[in-house]
């Protein structure tokens, strides 16, 4: 399992005497700002990828940017790795403690500092929950657009680290499109502001580079987010298909018709059956797949676009097209979708969520290939995903208590990711590489590209102490564990047409 770091191929630092580390950090923090006992640190052992576990040397809970800076400088001085953590909801093991690290939890920096409804911005600390921002600005008729499914719990700092997406990013963009200014602290204690209050800044666009950097470059201590006016009208259409291929074709046809839905989601039979049993959303469980297509905007326009979406779905072979009767049913349709992950518990004790993205036109081929791989590995796969973005979430169903099933699930997951790359896509659309997909990075990127990533890291973090062993594999790791690089499309899946 990848939660075991390997000092031959991972950049891991020799742990120092914990007493020495605690003595160095103690004077920098509030009286309750350090967790040093194992019982207290248990909660930080893992993030949303619960199969991976590790124990930090100590947990630091800074109250402000100055304390963040003090911890980072002390760690730089002692040569101790630092793993920053938001709410710990990430799905790729990005906040997994590496051996002997200081786990830097930003959870106490959780204040909304200011809201400017006229400029449509808010200044927030990294520990603020994603949904808390939208809740706080709703009184001004505004909302913060990126809405990962963990939005109730996940923090905005974590969203920046992962460049989080969500159901609505097809229309409203990812985190990178919805933030404009970051205050950061580097491992050497430098405090820098990236971006600004205007729409651009002189020099290189470092705000974009920081976003999605998975805690490897610097620690974010303040974020200015952009807010959008809440649409006056939203409506959702449910289209059922007797064939997954037809559903995939309908997705491409909707976009080709010039429509950008606020959300366009797909569930296959296995997923929608479980979701229906869990939520009773009224899904047609006899369908091979359903699409949920949400449109928002002005009242009359939503109606006109709904009619066009319905027509496109029917042309693509939909067996049933239903409009949510009212706001309650619209919410119910979405509740079913959002409850699809927990609903998997009905199908199997454990599931492993994959996060590749593919070009939309490849959906039908990829879904068929996943079905074939599922058969070959002897594990069922349910599909619930952001079809409009081509962002797949195959859920591999397994039982961790059965011998060898975890390993088979990991192998099947790896094969699906490699399929995504071969199809011209990517190994991760929104969950991040973290620790989980570190080996698949070797499939997507060449040695020169990986060296460039390390050079970028070194420009921010010359000693390499921030979140080591995550996101970017060493070339030694690729040589040892990485699958063959299929960048130019010459290795795996040679029988598939690709670009």
């Amino acid at each position: 399992m990848l939660d075991q770091f390997d000092d031959r191929v991972d950049p891991i630092f020799a742990p120092i005497d914990p007493a020495r580390l605690i003595a160095a950090l103690r004077p920098l923090m509030d009286a309750d700002g350090l967790v040093t006992k194992v019982e207290g640190m248990r909660v930080y052992e893992t993030d949303g990828l619960a199969a991976y576990r590790g124990m930090p040397a100590v947990v630091a809970l800074p109250r402000d940017a100055e304390q963040v800076r003090a911890v980072l400088m002390a760690c730089a001085d002692l040569g101790v790795a630092v793993v920053a953590r938001g709410a710990g909801t990430g799905l790729s093991g990005g906040a997994l403690p590496s051996p002997g690290c200081v786990l830097l939890s930003l959870s106490r920096m959780s204040r909304i500092l200011s809201i400017d409804p006229e400029a449509r911005t808010a200044r927030v600390q990294p520990g603020v929950r994603n949904l808390a921002i939208s809740d706080a600005v709703a009184q001004f008729g505004l909302f913060y657009a990126p809405d990962p499914s963990s939005q109730l719990a996940c923090s905005i700092g974590g969203n920046v680290a992962e460049n989080a997406g969500g159901v609505h990013c097809l229309k409203y963009g990812l985190t990178v499109h919805n933030i404009q200014k970051l205050d950061i602290v580097t491992i050497n204690g430098e405090m820098l502001t990236l971006g600004g209050d205007a729409l651009d800044t002189p020099g290189f666009d470092l705000t974009a580079l920081m976003t999605g950097s998975e805690g490897l470059l610097a620690v974010v201590t303040e974020i200015t987010v952009r807010l959008l006016p809440t649409p006056t009208h939203a409506q959702v259409i449910l289209a059922a298909f007797a064939d997954v291929r037809h559903a995939g074709e309908a997705v491409a046809a909707i976009i080709a018709a010039g429509i950008i839905p606020a959300g366009l989601e797909m569930m296959d039979r296995l997923a929608l059956g479980a979701a229906e049993a869990h939520t009773h959303a009224g899904y047609p469980t006899d369908a091979a797949a359903i699409l949920l297509c949400e449109l928002d905007g002005a009242d009359g326009d939503v109606g006109a676009e709904l009619a066009r979406v319905a027509a496109v779905c029917e042309t693509s072979g939909a067996t049933q097209v239903r409009l949510a009767r009212d706001e309650d049913e619209r919410k119910l349709f979405w509740a079913g979708r959002k409850g699809a992950f927990p609903a998997m518990g009905r199908l199997a004790p454990d599931y492993y969520c994959i996060d590749g993205t593919i070009p939309r036109r490849r959906l039908p081929d990829v879904l068929e290939a996943i079905e074939r791989l599922s058969g070959e590995h002897g594990l069922a796969v349910a599909n619930v995903f952001h079809a409009g973005d081509g962002n797949l979430h195959p859920l591999i169903l397994y039982d961790a208590n059965r011998d060898g099933e975890i390993e088979r699930a990991e192998a099947l997951g790896g094969a699906i990711l490699e399929l995504c790359v071969a199809m011209g896509g990517t190994i991760t659309g929104e969950h991040g590489v973290g620790r989980e997909k570190i080996n698949q990075m070797c499939v997507q990127f060449s040695s020169a590209e990986i060296e460039t990533f390390f050079a970028i890291k070194a420009a921010f973090d010359p000693i390499g102490l921030l979140n080591p062993g995550k996101a970017i594999p060493t070339l030694a790791r690729c040589a040892e564990y990485g699958s063959m690089h299929v960048h130019a499309g010459k290795a795996a899946f040679a029988h598939l047409d690709r670009f």
């Binding site: 409804p117 006229e118 400029a119 001004f140 460049n163 997406g165 963009g173 990812l174 820098l192 990236l194 209050d197 205007a198 729409l199 651009d200 800044t201 002189p202 020099g203 290189f204 666009d205 470092l206 974009a208 580079l209 976003t211 999605g212 950097s213 006016p229 809440t230 491409a252 976009i255 080709a256 905007g297 002005a298 009359g300 326009d301 993205t357 070009p359 036109r361 952001h386 973005d389 081509g390 962002n391 011209g424 990517t426 190994i427 991760t428 659309g429 969950h431 590489v433 990075m441 997507q444 060449s446 020169a448 590209e449 460039t452 990533f453 970028i456 890291k457 420009a459 921010f460 970017i472």
Partner: protein, 365 residues
Amino acid sequence: MFTRERRRLLTSTASRSTDRTEALTKAVRAAAAEARPLCIVGGDTKAFHGRAAVGERLEMAGHQGVVDYEPSELVITARAGTPLLQIEALLARNTQMLAFEPPILGPTSTLGGVVASGFSGSRRPFAGAVRDSVLGVTVLNGKGEALRLGGTVFKNVAGFDGFRPMAGSLGCLGVLLEISIRVAPSPAAETSRSFELDWPRAQAMITALMRRPVPLSGAAHDGHRLHLRLSGAVGAVEAMAAEIGGEATPEGFWSDLRHRRLGPLAQPRLWRLSVPRTATLPELPGLWLRDWAGGEIWLDSEAPSERIRTIASDVGGHATLYRGARTGESVFTPLPDGLFALHRRLKTAFDPAGIFNPGRMYEGL
């Protein structure tokens, strides 16, 4: 059905397709070996911008052609030297467009040039900047290695987003070979209304409108009048136009603004201020033209440079001497020391010998 359409589209541009990757790679490697500076040139329509170019010209113009375009993917991938006019014509045939509305300063203007300059038009506050549309690039680093950063899909978080800072980097990080850009459907309806309002009143009107979900795609003030462009679904555009009233905007206003021909935009010495759109700036004699809902100000003024930089920085913005810098005058607002040092380290990460457009953005970068 898509495959056939795609083939047709690609064939129609094939006659103008040339891959010069090999020659460009050789040129970069030779320059790197001798630490010889290169001046990367696309369509040569923006030579006036930035600090003086030094080094041997590396011509991108021949490296052109659309590599992949499938309308239902909302992505176009083209070589950096592909003329923007050609790309826009291809997109228009499929009722699509570049959302960031780039200025095209001449028929030779290339995709790579507009990405490197980071120029975005009036849609910027509503539809995002160049960097928001870039999905991935293939770029030659200073060792002559072709790096593929990002990709062709919208949701992609594998590896650092090294491709986004390419937008607006003025060629200081590498030679863009291929660029994948997200495209947007063209709006079904578009109209423009104009109002005789001084800037403070115009600003108040923009601010009030932008608090609501309105189909605004442009808001510009020419010193006397506010022009509002509405784009989107027919019903929304018609309803909004009826609500705000006003008069028709003069023919050609938005395209003259976009392609930088309007009023002060033609002046030989011109400032560009980027400020929060809700900011209040002090009066300064000169010609003012505001785009980006007030966030981008074009200023033709003989006021001292320090004064102009100060009025921008006082409100959290910055000022660029877009054109007509005198010898020794800085073009871009200087960066704080720590940030500049980080820029230099990043430059070295991509371009260790410092051969790409040295000094074009800042001295020593």
